[in-house]
Symmetry: C2
C-alpha cells in the first residue's frame, strides 16, 4: 500500500495534465448539442482504464442518450469485491460571462483547479482511477474492483437505471463506493450516510390562445404569469412550510444522536450566509441549518420560461409560461406519491380561467445507511488516515439517485464520500476542485480498498 | 373630396404593394440589432411623403435612438391646421415559431394582410399618407397638415418627448389626429376619448452571490425566485385589487352616462374570453368587462429572467432574477407617484435575506377628452360616413403617451382613432390588418380633413 501511495505522489504532475485533458471535453449531458462530447469523454475514460491495467474496460452504448463506461479487475478470487461509481457528465456552464476562466479550459489558480466538472464529478472519478492505477502499478489490487461510470447523472439518469437491474450478476459486489460527495467543512473529512431524494417537474400554465397586448387586454385577459406566481407562492406558508397536503406525513425526524453530532460540526448560520455571499439564510422555522439542509424537504423554483425577458420593454400578456420546480425529499418520502399530491394540489387550486399541466422530468428516492455498517466504518478509517483528521458521519442535501439504485436493486451497502468542499461551486460558475484534497482522495481510495479486504 | 376618394379606390392594388414593401422592413425599436432597419423605415416614409406631394418631408435624426419623420403641407392659409401622428416602429416579433407566415414577409390571406406592424402602426400611418396623396393628386388639401411620425413608440418614446416641447411653434395646430387605435368591435367605428397610462418597470431580486446547487444549499440559501414570486403575488388581493398603498386613491370613476353607453356596446364577457381563446376572464371584482379594460388600473408581469429555462433539468438556485412588471394607469393616477409607491412597497416588504431593486423603464400618463370637443365630433362624422355605421365614443386600455404630450404640451384637442380590430394580434404573433377597414381608413381621413375645415 505504501508503494502505491508513493507512486501516486510521484505522478501528480502527469496526473494533473491528464485530468485537464479530460475536463476540456464539455460533456454536458442535458444539452443535445454536446452528445458527441459525452461520447468523447466516455471513450477517453475507457481508454485510461485500460492503460491503468483493468482487465476489461468498455464504453457501453446507450439506446437513447449517453453511454456508460464499465471496467473491472477480478484478479483476487476469494477477496471481497467493490463496485465503484462516478459520472463523467457535467452541468451546463451558463451563465458563461460569470466564469473567470472558460469552463472547459481547466486552469490552476493557487491550490485549486477550475473547470466545469472539476469537482462534480470528473475529479472524483479521476482520483479513483489513479488509485487503481497506483495499486496495479505497484503491489496489485487487494480486492476485486468493478467500475461503473455514467453519463446522465446531471440529466435523466435513465441509462444506468435501465442497466443496473439487467446486470445484477455482473455488478454483484460486497459494497459500493460512490465517489460524488465531499467534506462538510474544510478540514473535516466526511462520510455521507444520508441523501435527499428529488422530484423535478415542469409546471405549465396556459391562458389565452396567443400572446396579447397588455394595454388592450389587461384587466380582463388571463395572464399565465399571475396564476403561476399565485400558485407557486401559495405552496409555501409564512413559516416556510410546504402546503401540499400530506407532504410532511412520511418525513422521518433525525435521531437525537444524529442531531447532537450535527451540533458539533463547524457549520453556522452566519458563516453559511457569508460563504454563499447572501445577506442571510431562509427556510423552515424551528429547524437548525443542517436540519434544513439535510433532513427537511424543500421546494425550489429554478426558472420560469415565457413572456418577454429581453432588454427593454414589451407589453405582452403571454399565452403560457413554464416553471421549473423541484423538490428535495427526505426519508421516507416517495417521489411518485409526492408528484401525485403536487399535481393534485395544482389542479384543484388553479383558477378556472387557466389550464395547468404538470410534467415529471425525473425523480430520485431519498436514502440512508447505518454508520455501523462495516464498509462505512472502513471508509471512515481510510478517510481519517488519508486526511489526518477524524472523519465525520454527515448527510448531504443533494441527490445521488444511483445510491438508491445500488442499495435497493443490488442490495449493497453503499459508501458515499469524496473530497468536494462546500465552496466548490457545483452547478455554478467557477466550479473548482482543491488539488491537495484531490491527491488525498487518491490515497484515501487506496486505503479504503485495503480496509475492505476484511469485509468477507 | 369625391375625386380624392375615387383616386384612393383606383389605386388600392399599388397601395397594397407599397405597404408590403414598408412592412418588410423590421423596424423593431426595442432591439439594438434593428437600429438600421428603423432608419430605413424612416427614410422610406419621408421619401413617400415627398412623392405624395407634401411641401416638406424629412428624417429628423435622433441623438440617441431612432429618428422622427416630419412632413408638412401648409398651402391653405387661413384654414385650420391638423397635426397627424403615427409611429413606424414595431414590436419584437418573437416567438417566431407561432407565426403562420414570417412577420416581415407581409402576406395577404382572405381580407387580411399579415405582418408585424400591419395594424400597429404602419397600416395606420400608411392610410393617412395615402389620404393626403389622394387629396393632393386631385382637389388639393382643404386644410394645412403637419405629419409627425416617431420610431420609439414601442420603446422609450424618448425622442418625441424631447422634440415636441422644443418645437411648439412648428407643431402648432388646431387639433391633432392620432392614428393608432381602432374599432371597439367589428362593425363599430369608434373614437377613443380615454387612454390608460403606463408605468413599465424591472424588479430585480438578488440572493446569493453566485448560482448555487439546489441540493447542497436548498432549504437555507435564499432563492430569488421565491422572493420575487412572494412579493409579486402579494401585490394582488383575493378580489383582484392591487395592494400598493394609495394606488386607487386618485382613480376617477367613469360617469354614469359613460357607463350606460358602454353597456350598449356589443362586447360581452364570454365573447371576450372566446375571442382570445381563453377559458374565462379574470380581474377586479365588482367591475364590468369594459370598466376593467378601460377605467381600472392593472398590474401585469410580462416575464421573469434568470435561473434555468432551457430544455431538461438544471438544479440551480439562481443568484438573481429580474421581473418585467408594468401597470396600466387611469385618470388621475400619476405614473411617477405610482412608481415611488411601488418601489416603497417592495423595499418595505422584502425579506432581509434578499435585496430588491426597481428600475423605471418608461411611463405615460393616462388621458381623457370630452366627446363634445368639435374635432372629436368631426372625426365621429367622418368615421360614421366612411364606414356606414354610427361611430361610438369609447376608451382604450392601451397607452399612447404622445396623446398626453400633444394635449398637455401643445394644448391641442386630440382625436384618437383608427381602424384596428380587437383580434388584430397587436404585440403578438400573426398581427394583421383588415384590408377593407384599411381602405375605409383612407376615406375616413379624407372626410375628416374636410370636416375640420370648419374648426376655425
Amino acid at each position: 500500500m505504501e508503494r502505491a501511495i508513493a507512486y501516486a505522489r510521484e505522478h501528480r504532475a502527469s496526473f494533473l495534465e491528464e485530468l485537464q485533458e479530460w475536463l476540456a471535453i464539455p460533456s454536458v449531458s442535458t444539452l443535445p448539442e454536446h452528445g458527441r462530447d459525452c461520447e468523447r469523454a466516455a471513450g477517453w475514460l475507457a481508454d485510461r482504464m485500460r492503460r491503468a491495467g483493468l482487465q476489461r474496460a468498455e464504453v457501453v452504448p446507450s439506446r437513447q442518450q449517453h453511454p456508460l463506461v464499465y471496467g473491472e479487475w477480478l484478479g483476487a478470487p476469494g477477496a471481497p469485491t467493490v463496485l465503484v461509481y462516478g459520472h463523467y457528465d457535467v452541468q451546463p456552464a451558463d451563465p458563461l460571462e460569470l466564469w473567470e476562466t472558460p469552463p472547459f479550459q481547466p486552469t490552476v489558480r493557487g491550490d485549486n483547479l477550475y473547470a466545469r466538472g472539476a469537482s462534480d464529478d470528473k475529479g472524483h472519478v479521476f482520483a479513483t482511477l489513479k488509485a487503481l492505477e497506483s495499486l496495479l502499478a505497484t503491489d496489485g489490487l487487494p480486492v476485486n474492483v468493478k467500475v461503473l461510470v455514467e453519463g446522465e447523472e446531471e440529466s435523466s439518469g435513465a441509462e444506468i437505471a435501465r442497466y443496473v437491474p439487467r446486470h445484477r450478476r455482473r455488478l454483484r459486489a460486497d459494497c459500493a463506493l460512490v465517489m460524488d460527495s465531499g467534506f462538510v467543512a474544510p478540514g473535516v473529512p466526511s462520510i455521507t450516510v444520508g441523501l435527499r431524494g428529488i422530484l423535478y417537474t415542469e409546471v405549465e400554465v396556459r391562458g389565452p390562445a396567443t400572446d396579447l397586448h397588455s394595454g388592450t387586454f389587461g384587466g380582463a385577459a388571463p395572464n399565465p404569469f399571475h396564476e403561476a406566481i399565485r400558485l407557486l407562492a401559495s405552496l409555501r406558508d409564512r413559516r416556510g412550510r410546504i402546503r401540499i397536503p400530506g407532504f410532511y406525513r412520511p418525513v422521518r425526524e433525525p435521531s437525537e444522536a444524529e442531531r447532537a453530532a450535527w451540533r458539533e460540526l463547524p457549520v453556522g448560520e452566519e458563516e453559511f450566509a457569508r460563504s454563499i455571499g447572501a445577506r442571510g439564510t431562509v427556510g423552515e422555522e424551528g429547524y437548525s441549518l443542517l436540519e434544513r439542509l439535510w433532513a427537511r424537504p424543500t421546494l425550489e423554483v429554478h426558472g420560469i420560461a415565457g413572456g418577454f425577458t429581453g432588454p427593454g420593454a414589451k407589453t405582452v400578456l403571454p399565452a403560457r409560461c413554464v416553471a421549473k420546480v423541484s423538490m428535495r425529499l427526505v426519508p421516507d418520502q416517495n417521489p411518485d406519491r409526492v408528484y401525485r399530491a403536487f399535481e393534485r394540489y395544482l389542479l384543484r387550486n388553479v383558477h378556472p380561467a387557466y389550464e395547468v399541466m404538470v410534467r415529471k422530468l425525473h425523480t430520485g428516492r431519498p436514502w440512508m445507511v447505518s454508520p455501523e455498517e462495516p464498509a462505512v466504518q472502513a471508509a471512515a478509517r481510510a478517510w481519517s488516515a488519508a486526511y489526518g483528521a477524524p472523519a465525520r458521519f454527515v448527510r448531504m442535501g443533494g441527490s445521488v439517485p444511483v445510491v438508491d439504485l445500488f442499495s435497493r436493486v443490488l442490495g449493497q451497502p453503499v459508501v458515499v464520500t469524496g473530497f468536494g468542499l462546500p465552496d466548490d461551486n457545483l452547478h455554478a460558475p467557477n466550479e473548482k476542485v482543491n488539488l491537495p484534497l484531490l491527491w488525498g482522495g487518491v490515497e484515501a481510495v487506496i486505503r479504503f480498498l485495503h480496509e475492505v479486504r476484511a469485509l468477507r
